[in-house]
Symmetry: C2
Subunit: 327 residues, 2 copies
DNA sequence: CTGAAAGCGCTTACAG
DNA sequence: CTGAAAGCGCTTACAG
């Protein structure tokens, strides 16, 4: 690799001068500038990021901590973060923590040692104090860690209310909610939205908890369908769970949407691939990722933040697992 | 951050000695060693990777170039690469190239400037010469770039033959193959496997090309189903395409597997989520990623490679989109 | 406007 | 066994 010294020699100037034209900083005479530019081109010189990082204590890299990239909610989020990062000249490092505190710590250590410039957290297994003691720009995405950490989430509560109301309007008499694990912020909020709505409207309802994997939801729903054949509406806390519910319904001999109407949550591509295609509360996933990345980079570059917390609106996307509501 | 100097001062030794115990290299007296170890603990010292990189011209990072992480084939691959990399102390940087030469070049430049230690390529829009001129350990994954570059692929040809034979055995009389874009290695091989099989067995067949997105496959198949209502078997070049075919069949009033039997390719989680669940040729995706990562790291660490090219066996996973073959 | 020098935090010959 | 020094490739005061 050619270094700044080679360029300096070729251009007959000092490395300081080369550095100045590289960074467009400080005075440089016209002639020197041209000589340097020519040398750079002739030698196809690219400045060494590592040396720059060492001096600046900054790596132009951001970390994206997530539970598991192979969970279908995350790739699009990661994609958005990458796209925005690329625009601003940052590289992103994705870390799969598997919701495991030890793994999260290890990754954090490794990133700190690399002068990572900031972190987007979609996972939170350390305390707020630990995150803050990192002394790094931070954004909490899809989870809330603390008041002080800029946050980007969808309005899970509202999305859940809309979905539940829709099922009610569509005539469901006994609605099952498949909720996600307790303590996981979005799962809790969706549950609360569901609960408030069925209570307001006085609708009979059932709630079961399932993990985010499809088989769990399928089993849970299948068993419930045997005990409560009157269930005619299901609101699932994720699209994957909804897919599980579809499989359960099929096994139980129930057809969707004739016997049971179903609404998922997330808006991942899976929904469109199912037959019938899935009615769902779509989060603006890409936008959430993009907003987070911009918010993080603003902090890194010490620009003013006009807003600390973003609550983005989800959209109820009507597809084929619900019957049309006549109004 | 505490530096090696702080540790040296605290332990009353020189930085050279600290470095020696850090790297377990060179002679260090028992007493000094203990003093240094204590100092490291007391100060919670972590060596700075950037400084190390600068000296060693190596970053302990590997690059993973892929078309698009939100294409459902890639997250699991990425996950496997990450897992193995973590084990060996490497960090992975994922780059989404969108099959775009310009983006690929930009990423490559950025990575080179960071002293990236090696690259896993699932995308190839530069020439073999360009890749080799990077002068970096390389692994081609799921695509073949050149004889000289270690490669990990699934046996696409064999998988296609198995799938096609299975449809034939199951009694299909007119089989449609939805093939992927020409020039993409796996798509070509699957096509060839299909073609060879139908010809060997003298089975009527049709071939259409579709992109890797679901809507394209759906449209193409829907139109074909109108013109050729006799189609009773479909072999799709990917699971996503197969999902598109399912939607098309449903729209055309055909039921699966009664009227049409369907087999996909890839073995992504989607297949299990569909109703009926998808019979598919499953690639060992996780293993492909893991093998690639190990192969790359071996090169980086200059260990001998016992094998240069890995062709892994896919498995025909029978689920519900095919009828059982009676033998 | 420009260069010599110090420094970012490490590692490794080189002396001793 | 241990330390002083040079060097990895940059950047930025500091002189001039």
């Amino acid at each position: 690799m050619t270094t700044i010294k080679d360029v300096a020699k070729y251009a007959n100037v000092s490395v300081a001068t080369v550095s100045r034209v590289l960074n467009k900083k400080g005075y440089v005479g016209k002639d020197s500038e041209k000589a340097v530019l020519d040398a750079i081109k002739a030698l196809n010189y690219k400045p060494n990021s590592v040396a720059r990082s060492l001096y600046h204590k900054s790596s132009k890299m951001i970390g994206l901590l997530m539970p598991d990239i192979s969970n279908p909610f995350f790739p699009e989020l990661a994609r958005a973060v990458e796209d925005v990062a690329l625009t601003y000249g940052y590289t992103v490092v994705i870390c799969n923590t598997d919701e495991d505190e030890q793994k999260e710590r290890r990754y954090l250590d490794a990133l700190m040692q690399k002068y990572i410039d900031g972190l987007i957290l979609t996972t939170n297994h350390l305390t707020k104090e630990e995150y803050e003691s990192l002394d790094l720009p931070l954004v909490a995405l899809d989870r809330i860690i603390s008041e002080d950490i800029p946050t980007v989430v969808a309005d899970n509560f509202r999305g859940a209310k809309e979905a539940t109301s829709y099922l009610a309007d569509a005539g469901c008499k006994l609605i099952l909610h498949i909720r996600g694990p307790k303590g996981v912020h979005p799962a809790d909020r969706r549950y609360e939205g569901f609960k408030e709505t069925v209570e307001e409207r006085g609708i009979a309802n059932l709630v079961v908890e399932a993990g985010f994997k499809i088989n769990q939801a399928e089993e849970v729903v299948y068993n419930l369908l045997k005990d409560y054949p009157q269930i005619d509406g299901i609101f699932a806390s994720s699209d994957v769970m909804a897919a599980g519910a579809m499989k359960a319904a099929s096994r139980a001999g129930k057809s969707i949407p004739q016997d049971i109407q179903l609404i998922g949550f997330d808006g991942i591509p899976l929904g469109e691939m199912l037959v019938p295609s899935l009615t769902t509360v779509a989060q603006p996933i890409y936008e959430m990722g993009a907003v987070s990345a911009r918010l993080l980079i603003k902090q890194i570059e010490k620009k003013p933040l006009d807003q600390l917390n973003y609550v983005l609106d989800p959209t109820l996307v009507i597809r084929q697992t619900t019957r049309s509501v006549d109004e």
